[in-house]
């Protein structure tokens, strides 16, 4: 019985997320949007669950089954908020960039199902491979799962993890807290929980791509984008190695996808942006790079919305976006101030050393060469060239409103890449070693968001009036 308890808890978490998302969703969702809500619920639910776990560990560790109490409390609170919310709000349905609804007819309607089917095949393969290394690869053991063990068994002394030789003790705790909480339901640390979680990241990421694009760009683009997402071997490998980069990429995609569904020209409130901000906050609570993403998303939102809808709409939306980020960012700041401390990237050197590194041309050359090499290993170059050709043939959206989502994704991705490059330039570690051990993984975090952006740009094939 205890074997299935973690998975019941995981399902309950997703349901908590479902209640929270529905509470904030500005309209009654149908079709692809309802499925998007389901996959977004996995992200939001796991983020909320992690927040609850942190409260359990720092304040209610002494209470028997305190983690159950907090999970139930969160579920009841968000279910009540959802039921209490007035459903009378009439807002136009999400604008799709599709010219008509031909994609709902014929064989095309099965395309997203087929894409999700392929994702499930990938998930099964990843799960089977992860059983060859049931404890995960290096990062999983040296960072994430070991922290989860301290959180599970440490009781009030869980902070011993900061005295132990645990790599990256300054990294935030979303993943370890999630694993530890699910282990708590089981009563011991099993290898199955991290394995199932990694499959959850994979399925949620592909689900978010399929559903967001089927709403925004048509089912054909949704199916194609999913296929192209899964062509990245590194993406599937990192899932099987239990690395946190796949969770990061899921939260980044969830934030960008939710911003893409926001349509200010229809007078929608910023409720969707609260969810987008919350997902960006979850990314910040997963890895340090997530803090950079929260900043990148904010910059991208300010620039793109000002350009497409004007400063007033931007100001209105920005309030909601920052409101959504606030809980998790506060959590990260609290954690950093009390336990995490500064990253070794900044604490192991002074400003002069950073500036000296920054002006060395050799370092610039090495960093950007490594970036391009890594990009070539993440994406399938011939397929990308075909995608560019396809986009040129079909044409891109020209209305400012339709350009908001791809512009936000593009600017956020650009800021992230520049941010990563800057970190490498100033790193106090051996640059070659630092690049070879992390560059590919960092760029892969941006891969699903980039795929979303690529397929939001071109006009939908439905505009060609060809029905398959």
């Amino acid at each position: 019985m205890t074997v299935i308890l973690p998975f019941i808890a995981l399902a309950a978490n997703i349901f908590t997320g479902w209640c929270m998302v529905n509470w904030l969703w500005p309209r009654r969702a149908q079709g692809g949007e309802a499925w998007f809500i389901f996959f977004l619920s996995a992200c939001v639910g796991l983020g909320t669950g992690s927040l609850g776990s942190f409260i359990w560990r720092i304040a209610l560790w002494w209470l028997p089954l305190g983690f159950v109490l907090i999970d139930v409390a969160l579920l009841v609170i968000f279910a009540t908020l959802w039921r209490l919310r007035s459903r009378g709000e009439q807002v136009a349905p999400v604008n799709t960039n599709k010219a008509d609804d031909t994609s709902r007819r014929g064989a095309s309607k099965y395309l997203p199902v087929m894409a999700l089917g392929l994702a499930i095949v990938c998930a099964i393969t990843v799960f089977r491979i992860s059983q060859v290394h049931p404890h995960g690869q290096w990062d999983a053991q040296a960072i994430w799962n070991v922290k989860a063990k301290f959180l599970l068994y440490g009781q009030a002394q869980w902070t011993n993890m900061f005295a132990a030789p645990v790599a990256r003790s300054d990294y935030p705790l979303l993943l370890p807290l999630t694993i530890a909480r699910l282990w708590s339901y089981q009563g011991y640390d099993s290898t199955i929980v991290p394995q199932v979680l990694t499959v959850t990241w994979l399925l949620a990421t592909t689900g978010l791509i399929v559903t967001s694009l089927s709403v925004l760009a048509g089912v054909r683009h949704a199916a194609l984008a999913t296929l192209i997402l899964l062509t990245s071997k590194l993406f599937l490998e990192l899932c099987s190695w239990q690395y946190a980069d796949t969770a990061m990429s899921m939260f980044i995609l969830a934030a960008l996808g939710t911003v893409a569904l926001w349509r200010p020209q229809y007078g929608q409130t910023g409720r969707l942006l609260i969810l987008a901000g919350f997902c960006a906050g979850c990314a910040a609570w997963t890895k340090n790079e997530g803090l950079l993403f929260a900043l990148a998303l904010t910059i991208a939102f300010i620039v793109a919305t000002t350009f497409t809808h004007g400063g007033r709409t931007m100001g209105h939306g920005l309030k909601y976006l920052l409101l959504g980020m606030t809980p998790m960012i506060c959590l990260v700041v609290f954690f950093k101030l009390v336990w995490g401390g500064p990253s070794d990237l900044f604490s192991d050197q002074n400003l002069d050393q950073m500036l000296t590194h920054l002006i060395q041309p050799d370092r610039h050359r090495l960093v950007w060469k490594s970036m391009f090499d890594s990009l070539g290993r993440i994406l399938h170059v011939p397929l990308m060239l075909l995608t560019v050709l396809y986009t040129l043939l079909v044409g891109i959206h020209r209305t400012r409103a339709a350009l908001l989502a791809p512009a936000v994704a593009a600017i956020a991705t650009l800021v992230m890449v520049v941010g990563y490059a800057s970190i490498y330039l100033i790193t106090p570690h051996d640059l070659q070693w630092h690049l070879s051990t992390s560059n590919e993984r960092l760029l892969l975090q941006l891969w699903p968001g980039a795929v979303l952006m690529i397929f939001l740009l071109p006009k939908s094939p439905e505009s060609l009036r060809l029905v398959v």
Partner: protein, 139 residues
């Protein structure tokens, strides 16, 4: 938009879909055959099993030292400490200071014996080749 351009788009999209599908299938096959990942020698699994043998011996301890004859940083030694910490958490492994109780991870029993002969530690229990629990007897 209709005509040759539309047909070209449709053909291109079909080509991309088929190509992607082939790449995904190929990737899954390659991953299934080559399942090792960065740890080609299954080193972490071997070390995990090795340090897992210490669990019962160290039950009730809060902190132990870690003594090894391997280099410390970015080499085997650092990995050893990390994996030992993972397997034995929430026990804290202190590899930087002397502790009354320590675990040893030597390449061989001979190397362990040589070290014991010249140190202030006594053997508490041998667990496996080069792996033991030792106690400090000196000041």
């Amino acid at each position: 938009m209709q005509g040759p351009r539309a047909i070209a788009c449709l053909l291109l999209m079909s080509l991309m879909a088929l190509w992607s599908l082939l790449v995904v299938c190929d990737t899954l096959l390659v991953m299934t055959v080559d399942q090792d990942g960065p740890d080609k020698n299954h080193l972490t699994q071997k070390l995990g099993r090795r340090f897992g043998l210490l669990k019962d011996e160290l039950d009730g301890q809060h902190t132990v030292g870690f003594i090894t004859d391997q280099p410390r940083f970015y080499g085997q030694g650092n990995l050893d400490v990390m994996i030992a910490q993972y397997m034995l958490a929430p026990l804290v492994i202190d590899h930087q200071h002397d502790q009354p109780t320590s675990i040893t991870n030597f390449t061989s029993d001979e190397a362990l014996q040589r070290w014991l002969a010249s140190s202030d530690y006594s053997l508490q229990k041998r667990i496996a080749e080069g792996l033991a629990v030792v106690e400090r007897v000196g000041p």
